[in-house]
């Protein structure tokens, strides 16, 4: 795997990491750094069974999920006051983007993930299924139900 290819995918990888980290920029950077370290150390190897982008997105998602699990254990150990000390760095959004994000956050996690991979990252539903480790059938169902709900939520809000 060439470093140049990863560099070309870097903006998309960062955006997907943001999505996997509830739009927390610091956490997304940490996740992406962990992913690059995994690749450098050979713990994550691209075997060519899917596109590089799909494979990379799957690694990012797994890494973000495992960090989130560790973080939830840490939060259980630490008192609430300590948790509140953590500063979350978030992106500043335009009105349209903020409305879309709010609607996305009201969807089930899988539906949101499939829709983001298809509409935001221009993956096909089949590629999204691989990145999310789902069957194609499940990914299609999540896509259709999620899109229906998203359109219902956004109906009239974006046309102002």
């Amino acid at each position: 795997m060439q470093q140049e290819e990863l560099e070309r995918l870097h903006p998309a990888s960062y955006a997907w990491a943001l999505s996997c980290c509830r739009r927390d920029r610091s956490e997304a950077e940490e996740v992406l750094q962990d992913v690059y370290v995994k690749i450098l150390e050979g713990k994550a190897r691209f075997d060519g069974r899917s596109s590089l982008k799909t494979w990379l997105f799957a690694v990012i998602r797994r890494t973000a999920a495992s960090r989130a699990r560790r973080r939830s254990v840490r939060d259980l150990l630490l008192a609430k006051w300590a948790r509140e000390q953590v500063v979350v760095r978030q992106v500043e959004y335009s009105d349209v983007a903020a409305i879309l994000l709010t609607a996305l956050q009201n969807l089930a996690r899988r539906q949101r993930e499939v829709l983001e991979l298809v509409f935001y990252h221009d993956l096909t539903i089949e590629e999204a299924a691989i990145a999310l480790n789902l069957s194609i059938g499940s990914a299609r169902v999540h896509y259709q139900r999620g899109k229906k709900q998203l359109l219902a939520q956004l109906n009239g809000k974006l046309d102002r």
């Binding site: 470093q3 990863l6 560099e7 870097h10 903006p11 960062y14 955006a15 943001l18 739009r23 920029r25 950077e29 992406l32 750094q33 962990d34 690059y36 370290v37 450098l40 150390e41 840490r74 150990l77 630490l78 008192a79 300590a82 992106v91 500043e92 959004y93 335009s94 349209v96 983007a97 409305i99 879309l100 994000l101 983001e116 509409f119 935001y120 899109k147 998203l150 359109l151 956004l154 109906n155 009239g156 974006l158 046309d159």
Partner: protein
């Protein structure tokens, strides 16, 4: 609302989020060993903090035992059973001269 409008909204979201992408070099060039060390330090410090917090909580929450009474002032709780009628007669030596008359 159609798919094109949805695509446009996602494009706007992407524009906002990719406006401040951290440089690839900064994230890529980190030494793996340094990263591992940083990760271990983070885990270690979190664990140490949690242990200290647990100790402080345990000290604050667990009720303290009352201080043990001094042996010189201690009285058995069954002492009253020894307070029998006429016990004061046993506390002093009997006066035999007085009883003879």
């Amino acid at each position: 609302m159609n798919d094109d409008r949805l695509h446009d909204a996602f494009k706007e979201l992407r524009r906002a989020e990719t406006a401040h992408v951290p440089s690839f070099k900064r994230l890529w060039d980190v030494e793996p060993a340094l990263s591992r060390l940083r990760s271990r330090l983070r885990v270690g410090s979190t664990f140490a903090f949690a242990v200290v917090l647990l100790i402080v909580l345990a000290v604050a929450i667990i009720p303290r035992r009352p201080a043990a009474p001094s042996i010189s002032t201690w009285r058995a709780p069954t002492d009253f059973l020894l307070q029998t009628p006429g016990r004061e007669l046993l506390d002093s030596v009997p006066d035999l001269k007085g009883t003879r008359q």
